[in-house]
Amino acid sequence: MLVVPRRASLIGWVGSTDHKRIGVRVATYAFGFFLLSGAFALVMRTELARPGLQVVSENTYNELFTMHGSGMFFLVMAPLALALGMYFVPLQIGASDIAWPRLALIGDWLIPLGGVTMFSGFLTDHGAAKAGWTAFAPLSDIDRSPGYGMDLWIFGGLLATAGVLLLAISVLTTIVRFRAPGMTMLRLPVFTWSMVATCLLVITSFPALIVALSLLFVDRHFSGVYEGASGPVLYQHLFWFYGHPVVYVIFFPFIGAVAEVVAVFSRRRFFGYHALVLSLLVFAALSMSVWAHHMFATGRVTNQYFALTSTILLVPAGVEYFDLIGTMIGGSILLSSAMLFAVGFIVLFLIGGLTGIIVASPPLDYHVHDTYFVVGHFHYTIFAGSLFGFFAAVYYWYPKVTGRMLRERLGKLQFVLYFLGANLTFFPMLVSGYEGMPRRVADYENIHDLSLMNMLSTIGAFTIALGTLVFLWNLRVSSRKPVPAGNDPWQGHTLEWWTTSPPPPHNFDSLPPVRSYSPLYDRRLGES
């Protein structure tokens, strides 16, 4: 490995092929898009606090929910998931760098370029895209969505999706080829295994979105690809073949991170490692086969098959939950901020998963389809689930990335605000959706206490915003008054804690022997 001194210049920052810099860059601008898309959510919640139109027009509201959802999926959660993998997978497997660093760098650049392209729709005559993050045909065709905003959305989606795809190819190849001596596949850390599942899903499902969006552009400007009775169904098949696996792309890395956190802060080796690895692979394969449960209401899909596969998903999910809880049982649990977010992830994702059973069952799905119940369900999985997992990872790995500690008190305050805020926002959505409130509306009738439910959701959304401000304050305090972290502040189990904080460009000066999936835990056990 050729070691070249780091450059502090801007060119050195934006052009670096160091996997750690790529990971930090992707995470940084994904977090920027999170703040922007989150601000859109606050405007929407302010509008929905009371019936009637008070803050924005219906047209602007349509743009806001479209760009909020698109931003969160294309530019925030999927890039964040891959950013974690890009940074930590080489460190966990004892590699000095990544495979195909230039490919990863191109991917790294494509994501923000996609984001800028997508959001630049606001500057065009007809405004940004307003066909929802799913852009269903024919709502997204040239007659119903005229103007450049929709086209910019398509190109932004294409660029960002291609970017994530390239990052996944690089991470997966690194796992296949660059493992340290002794690091066999069955000694890969849990987080790395979760990235294997994630990358497999990205590589096999994201091309479907690239095809869907390319054809959508052709449909809008050249010929009616999605015309006729079967056209919109074809689009939905292609879109959901990406759209459902992407939920797991933004779930697996965070359950992997949560598993690491749970093991380290329970002071135990991870329980049921082999079962977890198997369940991750089965979970990933099954999650590729459930996409059309989003399409039950079209009446054009094989309900039995998709309902069955969607229900079977419970089995690997149950195994993972069993392993997480099994690790905690009998452990000496330390309730740090990271551990609190991990437990929050386990609890809140469970609510998301259980409400998923309802939408996986055709007769129940017919009742709640396109209502706020669905919005509540997927926000429980994505925000209340995956984002809690992300913050567990942030509090756990921030000392490794920066060499500084985040403040625990501020972390716990953020957790309390997030936990209260998430439940206050999303649980009333389940109730209002069950009562029949449709999604994607700026106004609603005040029946069945919908006004109360919406007011609660709005208060919850601002509580979450307050929690985000606490996190930003925590970053600032950590930067202004740094508390050195040392190499291994948590007594971690995996190889990233062996090297310095932050790690050197070549990652490791030496490596300990690898005899299991938790080599540093083994070493500590041997010493004691």
Binding site: M1, L2, V4, R6, R7, I11, G12, V14, G15, S16, T17, S96, D97, P101, R102, L103, L105, I106, D108, W109, L110, L113, G114, Y148, D151, L152, F155, L158, L159, G163, L172, V176, R177, F178, T184, M185, V196, L200, I203, T204, S205, P207, A208, H221, V233, H237, L238, F241, V277, L281, V282, A284, A285, M288, S289, A292, R300, V301, T302, Y305
Partner: protein, 113 residues
């Protein structure tokens, strides 16, 4: 072989699920999409099976502005469909320049080995 096993097993699982859908579904589009994805999974498995481990000493670039230029060129080429021919020409030029620059980087990297 051991490295490839999980990837091959995963591809096989996708193939089985796709096969069941072929039997169950009267519409050919869903199983066709699923089969295409399973084929990609087989390619990943094959890569894991055939690809040798890298040499112990590798040369890796510290900087690659050429990669950034290629990404920028791809974005420009895509956007030229909306903006016009002038961006197509700039994007095309940038792509060629980026690829040439990348080739020079790779050649220099090989020379150091």
């Amino acid at each position: 072989m051991k490295v490839a096993l999980p990837f091959v097993a995963w591809a096989a699982l996708l193939t089985v699920l796709a096969a069941v859908l072929w039997v169950w579904s009267s519409d050919h589009v869903p199983p066709a999409i699923f089969t295409a994805a399973a084929s990609v999974a087989w390619c990943v498995g094959l890569y894991a099976l055939l690809r040798p481990f890298p040499r112990a000493v590798r040369r890796a670039p510290d900087l690659s502005l050429a990669s950034g230029l290629v990404a920028l060129a791809i974005a420009m080429l895509l956007l030229s469909a909306l903006v016009g021919e002038w961006l197509l020409l700039i994007g095309g030029g940038a792509l060629v320049a980026g690829l040439v620059w990348l080739a020079r980087e790779l050649r220099a990297e090989r020379r150091v080995r």
